[in-house]
Symmetry: D2
Subunit: 152 residues, 4 copies
DNA sequence: TTTT
DNA sequence: TTTT
């Protein structure tokens, strides 16, 4: 049936990306992303609440993340929610929710190496599946094309 | 810091909403929402993968859900991701991820009672915080105004 | 620079799609899409305001639109805003704003031929660039891959 | 009927905001916002295409824009599309498309005065209608609450 | 020009 | 008219 599962996040990386290169050369990157919301509590005191999101990127996006994304930087992420089931060591059913990115844009932010945006934009013709190039010859890579045989 | 946490879903209710009315008259509704994605496996066979989302609605949206939403129906949900920590009975840290809705639009779909859209639209001036009414006198209810003292 | 241009619409077709098949076999479909917002005016009277959007679809999405979309039906559209300049007959600069779709999901709605959703879902493995198939062999079509030499 | 009209933009201000303060103290701010997309042309040359959006903000958001937003800065805008009709001087029907913001987040970017983000975040408890405060006492301002009697 |  |  008609179905949409879309997430849009702007936040900061809690750690450098962890990248694995799978058999076949496929890259997967993961990092925690913080979004924060401020509000006033019942005493009128300003409070901040931080939400942590587990971001997963595949292939080209993972490679961009590996090269250019660092802890503290700000990114725009577009993707979808995916909850995986797994058994913990006691054999109980557990759930883990991740955001599988299909688009990413660096927004700069706190960085050790100047403006992270530029390098990324230079080196990657298109990490944006949806908006990519309307030139005749261009190829758009589906960023969440995951092989079926991955160890999830 | 600059932060955005936004989710957009279109899917079907897996169950009727469960609604609690808290002290103070605040209503909270919850239901599982399915989004489905179809893809071809390595043998070219069409497969479908269903994602289940835990939807939470507050106040006016919860009341609309209680009155008009039923298992099987299709809804558009706009909201944000929130992951809560809790201790399980063995004292382990667990995480539960929910979508806190701040906007909802009924799309009809399989229903026991005709087109669910109409009733809802008639009875609710505005469940859409963001888009609500630009008349001078209208009031917009912040849908995710949660009391601080809720039992989470 | 960091840039995002994203539109999400749910609305009804004001007309059947107009489809052109260009040299090279590329299809382009266009239709007006209505979104409506209700609000109360200063006298407390309920009013409705309709917004009309010019939707443009390319290639695979255009072909799906041609086959399955009809006046009155409800669709979810994800895309981007594009404003074109042109000269009117008096030689004045004019602007025309369109939504170039890169994703489309039929939601049914009033239709002459039953539930429009099903046929579309059956016949199209993936019109959803962003969410498409994570099987190894699947191909994702970039929906807004426009040839450069189109007569705009 | 079920309807959604949502726009998400990240881009740069082409000019400082123009702000009007209407009778009754209501503020309206306008500015052009650029989003850019790069693609390769048929010769493999990298090209950039810039889209200009007419942003309109009301009340609290307009006041934040007036105080903190300047030409060149980067902002996240969430809002809706609105096309207005008007007569040009020759009496022809013309259309003008704007994005009416209901949420805005400053992302910094090129600025004459350091990081624009901070000041804004300090001084404005909540310009984010949708996500605002779940404290008991907080008030959420409907950002697109337009008086009916405005001179459009 | 849609839908409710 | 922005930004890279």
């Amino acid at each position: 049936m008609a179905s949409v599962n879309k997430v849009i996040l702007i936040g900061n990386l809690g750690k450098d990306p962890e990248v694995r290169h799978l058999e076949g050369g496929v890259a997967v990157a993961r990092f925690p992303l913080a979004t924060s919301e401020s509000y006033k509590d019942k005493n009128g005191q300003k409070q901040e609440k931080t939400e942590w999101h587990n971001i997963v990127l595949w292939r080209g996006l993972a490679e961009v993340a590996e090269k250019y994304l660092r802890k503290g930087q700000s990114v725009f992420i577009e993707g979808k929610i995916r909850t995986s089931q797994y058994q913990d060591k006691e054999g109980n059913q557990r759930y883990s929710t991740e955001i599988v990115a299909d688009n990413m844009t660096m927004l700069g932010g706190r960085s050790d190496s100047g403006n992270g945006s530029s390098g990324y934009q230079e080196s990657s013709a298109s990490t944006n599946t949806g908006e990519s190039s309307y030139s005749g010859g261009s190829k758009s890579v589906a960023q969440n094309d995951e092989p079926d045989d991955l160890p999830f």
